[in-house]
């Protein structure tokens, strides 16, 4: 079963050259390696900050653009993993291992749905 890990509240990630950058990069890469070793890794990416977001709504056939994220919350989506786990227990075990979670991020674990006839599902 595919699980999406939505990683919130991890926008203050260090940049190359910052003192903790190398350390965190090593841990994040080690997590991806562990996922590959288990054969669960499908995808995973960081997102650019919400200041780069544009929100699109189509109303009466017209696109309405808003500069900024969809929800005005303090916890923003900062990245994701898509993992193919045996069951929720394995997904939760891996979520606990996500390095960002150890630096204050919150991980929302969501199972990917099956829709009959959908032609681009990863599942």
């Amino acid at each position: 079963m595919h699980y999406m890990f939505l990683i919130y509240n991890c926008e203050d990630r260090p940049k190359p050259g910052d003192p903790r950058f190398e350390e965190i990069l090593t841990r994040v890469n080690a997590f991806a390696d562990e996922c590959r070793r288990r054969g669960v890794f499908v995808a995973g990416d960081p997102l650019k900050p919400v200041s780069t977001a544009t929100t699109v709504r189509v109303r009466e056939g017209k696109a309405m653009l808003t500069d900024g994220p969809f929800a005005e919350t303090h916890e923003h989506l900062g990245g994701y993993y898509l993992l193919d786990c045996r069951d929720l227990d394995e997904a939760l075990e891996l979520a606990e291992m996500v390095p960002q979670a150890h630096f204050g991020a919150t991980i929302e674990v969501r199972p990917v749905d099956h829709i009959p006839g959908l032609n681009h599902g990863v599942a």
């Binding site: 079963m1 699980y3 069951d87 929720l88 227990d89 199972p111 099956h114 009959p116």
Partner: protein
């Protein structure tokens, strides 16, 4: 014949409901479907058995009919909505014999109902419904929630189990200790609810659940510890309230009202649990409960045990109990200074009533009055409120 047949259905259902439900959830991978199928099998039995004969193996009959009914329904849904995911392979390929000889899946059922990905209320409600066989109406009454809200909570939990991939099994070894504590916590919560609501049948149900887990996991000392703890608390329930419903403190309780059989059963279980060594939180709690039924209570040992509990599973309530025991050994001032260092219990009436009692013993009357008043206002149960109102009056007049 008809009465005989319906009595037979009722008997199998009463004795084996949990096992049948567990086997069906295992085979079908879907709580709601399993429950509906079991209901359908029972109503078929009520219709058919009076006219034919009660089958030789009613358990197998019900299970098979339920499984087939569920598969029919899945096929139906699939035809109606083309290309739905196929029914779970277990249920399709399993022969009747395999289905009936499925092992005892009740433990898987309990662990699934108590999965940490479900919120606590859902865990308690689901355990009471699926394992203990309570109706939604009964659970709603017990926890003072509206029945539709509770029913909704149950449906949501069952769908989450199915849709989020919560597997129906006893967790892997590396997850087991933590998950078992979760299961025991749900059972103890049911018990304490039965205690605060003075609901004896709820306490007995918690005991039955605890004994079931202990019987299915004989090598888990914490399961035995929990049963011992519940037995030792329950043994004193008749003495805890006076005939007119007033709270009676331990020291004033009529010991002839204690249930000696439950005490000795609890002690035996506790001995067995202690033989495993390195006692966990429930075993330690049970040892403390066992010390409380001794006369006189060995307070220095109680202090030591609470200190040990604080090192394995610290909670503010344990800190409070520790402070109470310290006050018994080293006097009210020592207890008071520990209580004043506790954070997170400012809304808990027992913290304030304990403080009030210690202040009263120290002769700090005004502070005692204020603390009793606060405790009274925070207390929920009418018996607690009456008890605290009485205390308040007696301090005010001195």
């Amino acid at each position: 014949m008809s009465d005989l047949a319906s009595a037979a259905v009722e008997q199998v259902y009463r004795e084996h409901r949990t096992r049948m439900l567990a086997a069906l959830v295992r085979a079908l991978g879907d709580f709601e479907l399993a429950e509906d199928a079991l209901q359908e099998a029972c109503s078929q039995a009520l219709r058919k058995w009076p006219r034919a004969q009660v089958p030789d193996d009613p358990f197998a009959w019900l299970l098979t009919v339920a499984r087939n009914h569920a598969l029919d329904r899945l096929r139906h849904v699939r035809m109606a909505r083309a290309k739905l995911p196929a029914p779970p392979p277990d249920a399709v390929t399993m022969t009747e014999k395999q289905l009936v000889s499925l092992g005892d899946e009740r433990l898987s059922l309990i662990f699934t109902c108590c999965h940490p990905a479900l919120n606590e209320e859902a865990r308690v409600a689901l355990t009471l419904q699926a394992v203990a066989g309570f109706t939604a109406a009964q659970i709603a009454r017990t926890f003072l929630v509206a029945e539709p809200a509770l029913a909704q909570r149950l449906v949501r939990a069952k769908r989450k189990i199915r849709d989020a991939g919560i597997t129906f099994e006893v967790p892997a070894d590396h997850l087991l200790p933590e998950r078992l504590q979760g299961v025991l916590a749900v059972i103890y919560l049911i018990f304490t609810r039965g205690y605060t609501a003075s609901d004896a049948s709820l306490r007995l149900e918690a005991l039955r659940l605890g004994k079931l887990v202990a019987a299915l996991m004989p090598d888990e000392p914490e399961a035995h510890g929990l049963v011992a703890l519940m037995l030792l608390h329950n043994s004193r329930s008749a003495a805890r309230l006076s005939s007119d419903g007033e709270v009676v403190l331990l020291a004033d309780q009529d010991r002839t009202l204690w249930d000696l059989e439950e005490i000795s059963e609890g002690m035996t279980l506790l001995d067995r649990a202690l033989r495993f060594g390195s006692p966990g939180p429930y075993v330690l709690h049970a040892v403390i409960a066992a010390l409380h039924v001794q006369d006189p209570v060995d307070w220095p040992r109680v202090v030591a045990l609470y200190a040990e509990l604080l090192s394995v599973a610290p909670t503010p309530v344990i800190e409070l109990n520790h402070a109470v025991a310290v006050a018994m050994v080293d006097g009210p001032l020592a207890g008071l200074s520990l209580i004043d260092g506790i954070t997170g219990l400012s809304e808990y009436h027992l913290l304030h009533s304990t403080r009030a009692d210690l202040l009263r013993r120290l002769g700090r009357r005004d502070e005692a009055v204020a603390a009793y008043r606060l405790a009274h206002d925070l207390a929920v149960s009418p018996a607690d409120r009456r008890f605290l109102a009485g205390r308040l009056r007696s301090v005010e007049v001195t």
